[in-house]
């Protein structure tokens, strides 16, 4: 599997394996991103992985496209096993006011609410990459038995920490924002905090497991995490 390397303007290049979503390719992408970051090239600005592409941002005043390309080519033959993400457990209170659409998701798939919780909290999800909003993780590995269409009319305000389902995807809103995903629960964890280093709970390549908790655990956690009560 040989990727192509193309310019994305004069300050970035894109390493592309094609256009598809495949866990094996994503693993390879994380290994390449990691190897390029570790090489500490003096022209390197930052590395951004996505599903089947890695963007390398460089300083064009320090190196030309062909110099960067030549240096990168020597880092492409990394073993996908060379990079291991962390395992992050994300506590979630499912249903009720925290997950108002869980009933819909259950009914839509001919399941009970408890089935949805069990199916959603069973797998280990891979953080393919972050984007869309600061701290928003594109997760891979949701069981299709709980997939559900987006809302016809997006909510104007979805609270930070809301866990949702859209089609075959699941994800967590890092910030309060408008949104059209079916909400099934909420985590008290802070996914994006600009005063922390790094500012996001999840990073590309991490593994995520959702752990069901009850409301009192949520409140306790929330206060610790946000330094305020959730009323």
């Amino acid at each position: 599997m040989q990727p192509t390397i193309k310019p994305a303007g004069d300050s970035a290049l894109v390493i592309s394996f094609g256009e598809f979503i495949d866990e094996e390719v994503t693993t390879k992408i994380h290994a390449i991103a990691d190897a390029v970051e570790k090489a500490k090239f003096e022209w390197l600005v930052e590395v951004v992985p996505a599903y089947s592409t890695v963007y390398i941002f460089y300083d064009p005043l320090k190196a030309s496209f062909s110099e960067v390309k030549a240096a990168i080519e020597s880092r492409l033959q990394v073993s996908p096993e060379s990079f291991k993400g962390r395992l992050v457990e994300v506590p979630v209170v499912y249903g009720g006011e925290y997950g108002p659409d869980i009933g819909f998701v259950a009914e839509h798939n001919g399941l009970t609410v408890d089935d949805v919780i069990e199916i959603h909290s069973k797998p280990t999800y891979r953080v393919f990459f972050l984007g869309f909003l600061p701290g928003f993780a594109y997760l891979g590995g949701m069981d299709e038995r709980i997939s559900a269409p987006r809302l016809e009319k997006p909510r104007l305000k979805v609270p930070a920490g809301s866990v949702g389902i859209a089609g075959k995807q699941t994800g967590i809103y890092p910030l309060e924002s408008p949104g059209g995903w079916r909400l099934i629960g909420r985590t008290p964890l802070r996914l994006f905090d600009p005063e922390r280093e790094p500012p996001t709970l999840l990073r590309p390549g991490d593994m995520v497991r959702f752990v069901p908790i009850d409301e009192s655990e949520f409140r306790e956690f929330y206060e610790r995490e946000w330094g305020e009560k959730n009323d």
Binding site: K6, G9, A50, Y51, Y55, S64, G131, P134, P194
Partner: protein, 333 residues
């Protein structure tokens, strides 16, 4: 300290932007027109990337609660205590003075720099405002800002002659681009349309992106949507409507529309300074040409900095029938 008395439009603190957080989904932000902003900083003796005020069209009214040197970059009427003073020039203000900055002519973003820079809370190693993620907020009347410590020496009276100022007054601008990286999502005809037509900047344009209107760009059978990929400021995305969108400094870090081109870094300021209703044309250059343009622009900017520091002379010369500016080193006696 300075106090904002009137804030008629979007006013934010910006610096050269955030680096190193894009993989966590955090946009770069920073100066929309980095060339003008860096000149504003050099006018008051700051490093080019120091935090300053960026305003959209109309400038604020400011009271100085301590003496300091300031400069305004932009073709705009500036008054100090009601008396007109020159833009593109550094001036002393003393305690109690009132600075009024009116509405820009021929551009969209203006800059006000203060010697020592604006002292602000650096979040993720930048003072750039990105309100969506709680990284600062737009400024409003009544806000007070502290200035960084600056040695009180004569940095006023630095003047940038009109010949050395960036000129964005043309209503038909040509922007150079590097084609790609999703060219296979466009037909040859679509690419030809993009490079031969001109596009009007629409009012639905902001720090995140400029939506353009004009002849629709044709997609190939691969269509307008791609598997989500990273994107960067200057990227020209074309959604299914065929109308291009140029992503700007607050662009989200990833996107799902095919990218026909990326604006050469050296020309991104031209896009930033284009008002709704103005037209942009696009011309393809190679990645090496785009880099050459940037290297030349950086050299000019460094020469301007040295000129303002009194280390360079600037001359208007004629070469091959073209008016050019040349710089020579100031010889020390």
């Amino acid at each position: 300290m300075i106090e904002l008395l009137k804030v008629p439009s979007l006013l934010t603190v910006q610096d050269s932007g955030r680096r190193g957080y894009r993989k966590l989904g955090v946009p770069v932000s920073g100066f929309m027109d980095d060339y003008s902003a860096r000149i504003a900083n050099h006018l008051v003796g700051n490093p080019g990337d120091a935090p300053l005020l960026e305003f959209l069209l109309a400038g604020p009214t400011i009271r100085f609660n301590a003496s300091c040197v300031f400069a305004v970059a932009g073709d705009v009427e500036v008054k100090l205590n009601g008396v007109p003073v020159e833009p593109w020039t550094s001036h002393w203000a003393k305690r109690g003075d009132i600075l009024e900055v009116e509405t820009l002519r021929g551009r969209l973003y203006g800059y006000i720099a203060f010697a020592g820079g604006i002292k602000c809370e650096s979040l993720l190693s930048s003072c750039s405002t990105y309100p969506k993620a709680g990284l600062g907020r737009p400024l409003k009347a009544g806000d007070k800002l502290n200035l960084g410590y600056a040695v009180l020496t004569g940095k006023d009276g630095r003047y940038l002659p009109p010949e050395l100022r960036p000129d964005y007054s043309s209503k038909e601008k040509t922007v150079r681009v590097v084609l790609g990286p999703n060219l296979d999502h466009f037909t040859e005809e679509g690419i030809e349309t993009f490079l031969s037509e001109s596009y009007t900047v629409t009012p639905e344009s902001d720090r995140m992106g400029y939506r353009l209107d004009g002849k629709a760009i044709e997609h190939s059978e691969r269509g307008a949507d791609i598997v989500t990929e990273p994107l960067l400021p200057g990227t020209v995305q074309v959604p299914a409507s065929g109308k291009p969108i140029v992503m700007m400094r607050d662009a989200q870090t990833t996107g799902g529309y095919a990218k026909i081109a990326v604006v050469a870094t050296a020309d991104l300021s031209i896009v930033a300074q284009s008002r709704p209703g103005e037209r942009l044309g696009f011309r393809a250059v190679s990645v090496d040409e785009a880099r050459e343009l940037l290297i030349r622009r950086e050299k000019t900017l460094m020469a301007i900095k040295d000129f303002l520091d009194g280390k360079m002379h600037a001359y208007r010369i004629k070469a091959g029938g073209e008016e050019l500016i040349a710089f020579t080193k100031v010889e020390k006696e």
